[in-house]
C-alpha cells in the first residue's frame, strides 16, 4: 500500500461526502429522524388506553376505584350507560377495553375468591391486550390495599407478589429501544451507504478509470472503508449523545467498551456493504440488496424490537448470521446493565467471526477487472 494513493482516494471520498447532500442525508439526517421517531413516538408501553367503564350500581366504593384508574397515566376512562353501548364503542374502535362493575361490586369487593370486576379487552393487538390486563390487575390490587389500609385492616391475598424490576426500573421501553437503534443507524451508514457509493462509481464509469491506474485493490477498498468508518463513528457519537442527553437513557457501561464494540460492528457492516458492492453495479440493485439483507434483518431479527427467544427455532438460528443481533445485545446491556463480560465476550466473538467473513469475502471477490 502506498500512502499517497490511499490519501488521494480518501481525500476524494471526503470531498464527495461533503459536496453530495444525499450521503449526508443518509448518514446524519435519517438517523436523526429515526432517533426522534423512536425516542418520542414509538413506544411498546401501552399508554392512554381508552377504557370504557360501565357501572351498574354506582356507590362510594365504585367511585373510589374508578378514581384510582383515573389517576393512573395509563388509562383514559369514559363512562358508558350500559354494557351494550360500551360494546358498540369497542367495535367502533373508540375503546380498547371495557371495565364492567356489576351491581354486586360493593358486596363482593372484600370477599375472597370472587370476581367483582369484569374486563373485556380488544385482543387484536395481543401485546397491548396483555398489557391492559396486567395494568388493570395491578391497579385493582393497589386499590384493594389502599382501601384495606384506610380501614386499618390487613388484606388477605393468597400470594403477595413483591416485584423488583432490574436494569430498567422505570419500565420505559424507550430505554432499550434507543440503544438498539444505534445498531440500525450504523447498519445504514456501513452497509447501505457504502454499497451505494461504490455502485455509483460503477454507474458513472469512474471505477473503470480508477482501475486502469497503478492503484491496488486493497487501496481502493481501504479508500472506501476508512472514510465511511469515520463517518459511522460520527453517527455513533451523535446517536449516543442523543440517547443520553436528549432521551435520558442511563449509560451504565464504560464508553471504552461501547465504542470498541461499535468499531467492530461498523467494520462488519462495512464488510457487508463492500460485499454487496462487488455483486451489484447499479445503485438501485445495491440499495435493494442492502435494505433486504442488512437493514431489515437489523430491524426485525436483531432483538431490537422482537425478542429472539420467542421466535421459532429455525428463525432463531437464522439470527446468528445477523451481525446486528450481537451488537443490539451488547448495546442493551452496556446501556442498561453495565459491562457484563460474559455477555460481551460471547457477542464480540460472534461479531468478530462475521466481520472476518465479510471483509474476507470482499477482499477475495473484489477484482480490478470488469469480468
Amino acid at each position: 500500500m502506498k500512502t499517497m494513493r490511499l490519501t488521494g482516494l480518501m481525500r476524494k471520498e471526503v470531498y464527495e461526502i461533503v459536496r453530495d447532500p444525499s450521503s449526508i442525508a443518509i448518514a446524519f439526517v435519517l438517523p436523526l429522524v429515526l432517533l426522534l421517531i423512536f425516542g418520542y413516538g414509538v413506544s411498546l408501553d401501552a399508554r392512554r388506553i381508552l377504557m370504557a367503564e360501565v357501572v351498574d350500581h354506582p356507590t362510594q366504593l365504585t367511585a373510589s376505584f374508578l378514581a384510582e384508574l383515573q389517576r393512573s397515566p395509563w388509562f383514559r376512562p369514559t363512562i358508558y350507560p350500559d354494557q351494550a353501548s360500551a360494546e358498540q364503542a369497542l367495535m367502533a374502535g373508540r375503546a380498547n377495553a371495557i371495565l364492567w362493575l356489576r351491581s354486586d361490586f360493593t358486596r363482593q369487593a372484600y370477599s375472597a375468591g370472587s370476581a367483582p370486576i369484569h374486563l373485556t379487552v380488544n385482543g387484536v393487538d395481543a401485546n397491548q391486550a396483555r398489557l391492559i390486563e396486567n395494568y388493570v390487575n395491578v391497579s385493582w390490587l393497589l386499590w384493594l390495599q389502599q382501601e384495606a389500609t384506610g380501614q386499618g385492616a390487613h388484606l388477605e391475598t393468597p400470594v403477595a407478589a413483591d416485584a423488583r424490576v432490574w436494569f430498567n426500573p422505570a419500565l420505559r421501553s424507550r430505554d432499550y429501544l434507543v440503544p438498539g437503534l444505534i445498531a440500525i443507524v450504523m447498519t445504514l451508514i456501513g452497509a447501505l451507504l457504502t454499497a451505494l457509493v461504490v455502485a455509483r462509481e460503477w454507474e458513472r464509469g469512474t471505477m473503470e478509470g480508477i482501475m486502469v491506474t497503478p492503484v491496488a485493490k486493497t487501496e481502493i477498498l481501504s479508500g472506501k472503508l476508512i472514510p465511511y468508518f469515520a463517518m459511522g463513528m460520527g453517527g455513533m457519537i451523535l446517536s449516543t449523545a442523543m440517547a443520553v442527553f436528549l432521551f435520558g437513557v442511563p449509560l451504565h457501561g464504560s464508553l471504552l467498551v461501547l465504542f470498541g464494540t461499535a468499531a467492530l460492528f461498523l467494520l462488519t457492516a462495512l464488510g457487508m456493504g463492500l460485499v454487496i458492492s462487488v455483486l451489484a453495479r447499479s445503485q438501485f440493485v445495491a440499495a435493494m440488496i442492502a435494505i433486504v439483507t442488512t437493514f431489515l434483518p437489523a430491524f426485525i431479527l436483531s432483538g431490537f424490537i422482537f425478542d429472539i427467544r420467542s421466535m421459532p427455532q429455525p428463525i432463531q438460528l437464522l439470527t446468528h448470521i445477523v451481525a446486528a443481533r450481537y451488537f443490539v445485545t451488547i448495546l442493551q446491556s452496556a446501556f442498561l446493565a453495565g459491562d457484563v463480560w460474559p455477555v460481551l465476550l460471547r457477542n464480540v466473538f460472534g461479531m468478530g467471526v462475521l466481520c472476518a467473513l465479510f471483509l474476507g469475502i470482499a477482499l477475495l471477490r473484489f477484482r480490478k477487472r470488469l469480468d
Partner: protein, 577 residues
Amino acid sequence: MDAVAVGNLSKSFGKGTAHRDALKNISLEIPAGSMTALIGPDGAGKTTLLRLLAGILTPSAGAIRVLDHPLPKEALALQRQIGYMPQRFGLYEDLTVEENLSLFADLHSIPHEKREHRFAGLLTMTALGPFRKRLAGQLSGGMKQKLGLACTLIHPPELLLLDEASVGVDPISRRELWSIIQQQVAGQKVTVLLSTAYMDEAERCDHVILLHEGEILAQGNPAQLAASFEGRAFVLENVPTAPRNLQAQIAQLPGVVDTVIQGDGLRIVMQQAEPPALPQKLTLYGTPKPVPARLEDAFVSLLFSRTTRHPIPLPPQRDIAGDDTAVVAVKDLFRYFGAFAAVKNVSFSVRKGEIFGLLGANGAGKSTTFRMLCGLLPSSSGTLRVAGVDLRTAPAAARARIGYVSQKFSLYGALSVQQNLSFFSAAYGLENPRKQDRMAWALEELELKDYAKMNAGELPLGYKQRLALACALMHEPSILFLDEPTSGVDPLARREFWARVNALAESGVTCLVTTHFMEEAEYCDHLLLMSLGEVLAQGTPSEIKAKARSKAHPTPSMEDAFISLIEEHEQASRRAS
C-alpha cells in the same frame, strides 16, 4: 520494437444461450511511437480489445504483451505506464478540475514538487486554466472530455488507449482534443491506440485496423487502404435540384456501394472501378467524374458485402413547391436560467417536409431550444408555434403532433422490442385496430421483425436507434425532433439512419435535428448555426459555407465553416466583454 503484441487472442462473454464471441482469434502488432486507429461497426469488439490491452479484462485464449508486460499477469505493473480513457470517461463530478487532476496524480504517485509544473502544462494545453476551481460536473461536454484526457496524461503514459474520446463533442473541442493527442505523439513519443467512429480521425493515424464481428477485416496504412479502392469513387457536381432525392435514386443503381451528399453534389462509390451507369432520366445531371478514394470508401466497401442492407425505398415524390406553410415558427425566443441567458433572441421558421439542422458548440443553447420546442421547458419570452399550435397555451395539443428521439437511450431496456412499441403506442393514446396496424408497420418498415422478441437493452446500437425512431413514429407525428440521434453510431448505421430520415421528410414529415457530424449537416435543407445562445447564421448548407469563404479557404468544408464562424463569434464576444 512493438508496444503491443497480440497473438491468437479470443474473448467471449456469457454462458449457454447468452454466449457471445467478442473477439475471435486476433493477432496484431503496434509499433512503439505510432498512432493506430481501431474502426468498425458497433459491436465489432473495439472496446473489448482496448479493455483487454488495459488489463481490465482477462482473455479467453491467446497471448497479450503490452509494453513488454505479459497480460493479465503483469496488469498492475503495466498500469503504471499506460493511460486509458474509457468511452464515457467518468470524472468525479463533485470534484473540481484541479482536484480531479490531483487525484490522478496521487494514484500515479507523482511527487508533489513536480505537480505544479505538470498541471500548468496540462491546463494550458487543454485551455482549462481559467476553470481550475470549477466542479467537473459543471463543465461543458467538450471540456469534460479534455479534462478526462488531461487526467489520463498525468504521469505521462508511454501508451495511450482512447475509446471513442471524441463522441458527443463539437467540432471545435474535437479539433482541440486531436491537437493534444498529436502533441503527445510528436513531443513525448507516446504510442496511441484509439477507437473512433470518425473516418477523418482514422485517416490522420499511421495505421488503421478494421474490426468486424470480432475479426480483423483489414489493416494497414490509411492511404494504402484507400488506394486499393482507387478508381471506384466518383463525384456528380452541381446537382441543380435537392441532392437528397437524387441520392436515394442513385443508391439503388446496380454496382453502387455508397452515395453521400457532398456540398452541391453527390459522391458515389462503386463496387468495381467503373463509373455508375446513370439511367436516361438522370443523365441530364451530367457525368460522374472520378475522384481519389479515401478511407471511408474502403470502410464502406469492405463492409458492403458482409452486411445485409436493404435499400430504403423513397415514397412517391411530392410536390412541395408552393407548400410554404411554416410548421414551426419561433420568434424572439429567450430563455434564462437565473441571470444566465441560455437562448438569446432566436427566430427561425421551418417549412413542412423540411430537414432542419441545428448546429453549435457544446453549450451553445441547441438542447435548450429543442426542449422548448418539444414543450418540455417553458420559454422566458417570445412566441413558439409548433404545428400551428401556440406552445404557451396548448402544449399538450402540440405534443400530440410531435415525435422525439433523444440522444440518450430512452427505451425500456427490460422490455422486448414489441413491448416497447406497444407501450409507446398506448402512451400516445393509440387504440386497436390502429395500434395493431402501427405496430405491424414499425416491425415491417424498420426491419425489426427478427428482433421483435429481444429485449431492447440487448439490441445492437444501430437497432436501438431504429427502435427509438419507431417508438417516436407510432402516432404518425407531423414533426420529428432528433437530438444528436447518431452520436457514437458507426458510419454504416448512420447512413441507414439518414436514408430513413430522408424518406420520412419526403413523405411530408418535418424533421428537426441536432448533430456534431458536419457531413450530416449536408443532408439538411436549412441550417441554424448557434453560438453562445445566439443565432450566428442561417440558410442552406451552401449559404453557410459561403459565409466562411476566404482567400485562405476558397472551398471550405462544412466543418471548416463551422469552426471559423464560431471561433470568430466567440472571440468577438470575448472582446466585447
